[in-house]
């Protein structure tokens, strides 16, 4: 599914010599773990907090859960610059659309806006995005828009470089009909497992629960994450 390629595909304009550090020619990427889960009444989304430039951690407290609208969020993975730019563009388009409609936008609309941009510019962009939120028509929804610009709705979705390590956990531990607390617990455990195994994921675990009432954000610090081994 969402496979993250570590080599930077952008050309660099400078000849690399001793004085040029990695960050000057490596693109900043959110090599990452992101996930989202639907439950009856809303969604729970989660992400790690590491942004890397090559092997240097440019930001260890990144917030990859970006609000697109009051009840719609997106989880960003891939190139930091690309995802920030796409998220900004979609935020504008969705805000405009919502004003025209004079009602809150649908999650499906937000996801399709992402898909249109990611598909049209698929050769130039490196962005894997999970769109999740709540709307009045269909309740909590999770749509995944991986690299290439596909869109599919899933009850639970993981993405980023760390996702490879938690497909098994996701498949065996996700049960339909979980409550919000169970979803939060599931997400925390999944993030902890991925952050433990994936070098490009780490820092703190950021979670958010989106329901009709609004938004609830949580941060689980590194030393408070569940431990799965005594190593």
């Amino acid at each position: 599914m969402a496979v993250y390629m570590s080599a930077s595909h952008s050309e660099n304009a400078f000849n690399t010599h001793d004085f040029v550090p990695e960050w000057a020619h490596e693109e900043v990427s959110t090599g990452t773990t992101i996930l989202a889960v639907e439950f009856d009444g809303g969604v729970v989304i989660g992400a790690d907090s590491r942004t890397t430039t090559g092997s240097y951690i440019a930001n260890r407290v990144t917030d990859k859960l970006t609000p697109i609208h009051d009840h719609i969020f997106c989880c960003r993975s891939g190139s930091a610059a690309d995802t920030q730019a796409v998220a900004d563009a979609v935020t504008y388009q969705l805000g405009f659309h919502s004003i025209e409609l004079d009602e809150p936008p649908l999650v499906q609309t937000a996801a399709n806006l992402f898909k249109q941009m990611c598909y049209r510019y698929r050769e130039e962009l490196m962005a894997g995005i999970i769109v999740a939120g709540w709307d009045k028509r269909r309740g909590g929804q999770v749509y995944t828009v991986p690299m290439g610009g596909m869109i599919v709705r899933q009850p639970v979705s993981v993405g980023g470089s760390g996702s490879s390590y938690i497909y098994g956990f996701m498949d065996s531990n996700y049960k339909p009909g979980m409550t919000k607390e169970e979803c939060l617990h599931f997400c925390t455990q999944a993030l902890a497992l991925a952050m433990e195994r994936d070098g490009s994921s780490g820092g703190v675990a950021r979670l958010a629960a989106i329901t009709e009432e609004g938004l609830e954000r949580l941060v689980v610090l590194g030393n408070q994450l569940p431990k799965f081994s005594n190593a």
């Binding site: 952008s10 400078f14 004085f19 990144t62 930091a80 920030q84």
Partner: protein, 277 residues
């Protein structure tokens, strides 16, 4: 965009006119066995942190061109607006021009709207421009400023990604500087302590990185105003000139002297009164 701009921003696609020219030039020069000049880079240590009363930015002053120090007293902390300053690492020309362009655009904005620009505005304009150029503009910037919403510190990468954090270091000496910052940073520090911490961070970059050196500049931005201390600390390794290199009159003997007076006639004289009331 409801913003008047100094230069017209192209509406579609990317403008890479000069890339083809550069490639052709390189081909010509290599054929003639001449080296293309290496761009002057600020192999650098820059740092910033948010403290209780404002933002403190720091930078070293060495600019390198290959392995030679091109400028020993380079100014890496650029003025953006009365309440926003920007440290630049990467290609010297790119950081200089990008910050100049940003400063011009924000000045126009200030005149139009009658208010000081906010730091987020500067950050968004930079991000927009750098993303459009897809990393071809080698500028890694630390923007710090104080506005009506508080004290802010942002970093903008060459590809157009931004991060908003309480303390930062960039440049080739960033790892050394970040070690000092990670160890001693506390939220809401006092001003003097903050200045010392930034000085120590830059100093560590200078000691541990070949691309950084010479003096340390500090810029303190608060609600009351800006204190741009250049240099905050001079390098203890400044060399003293061995001799005076001035040549007094009489060093070169004059063999012949010929004076040709130029005869100018006044053709027309106009007087324009200025209204100085």
């Amino acid at each position: 965009m409801a913003l008047s701009n100094v230069l017209e921003i192209p509406t579609s696609g990317f403008n890479f006119e000069n890339v083809a020219r550069n490639v052709a030039l390189e081909g010509l020069l290599e054929g003639g066995h001449t080296k293309t000049p290496k761009p002057m880079k600020t192999g650098t240590t820059i740092a910033g942190l948010v403290c209780k009363e404002g933002v403190v930015l720091g930078a070293d002053t060495r600019a390198t061109s290959g392995e030679v120090v091109a400028d020993k007293m380079c100014a890496k902390i650029h003025y953006i607006s009365p309440n926003i300053y920007c440290c630049g690492a990467g290609t010297a020309a790119d950081t200089e021009k990008t910050t100049d362009l940003l400063s011009s655009n924000l000045t126009i904005f200030s005149m139009d709207s009658g208010r000081n620009p906010r730091v987020v505005m500067a950050v968004n304009i930079l991000q927009d421009m750098l993303f459009r150029y897809r990393g071809q503009i080698g500028a890694s910037l630390i923007l710090g400023g104080v506005d009506c919403n508080g004290n802010h510190l942002y970093t903008v990468g060459p590809y157009g990604s931004i991060d908003n954090v309480p303390y930062l270091a960039m440049g080739s000496g960033d790892l050394a500087a970040l070690g000092i910052l990670e160890d001693r940073f506390k939220p809401n520090m006092e001003m003097e302590e903050a200045k010392e911490l930034v000085r120590d961070a830059i100093h560590s970059g200078i000691m541990s990185d070949l691309g950084s050196g010479n003096n340390i500049d500090i810029c303190v931005i608060t609600k009351q105003g800006v204190d741009y201390i250049r240099p905050y600390q001079e390098s203890e390794y400044k060399d003293k000139r061995q001799k005076r290199y001035k040549y007094g009159p009489g060093t070169t003997s004059i063999l012949t002297e010929k004076i040709i007076p130029l005869e100018l006639e006044v053709v027309q004289e106009t007087v324009q009164r200025m209204d100085t009331a």
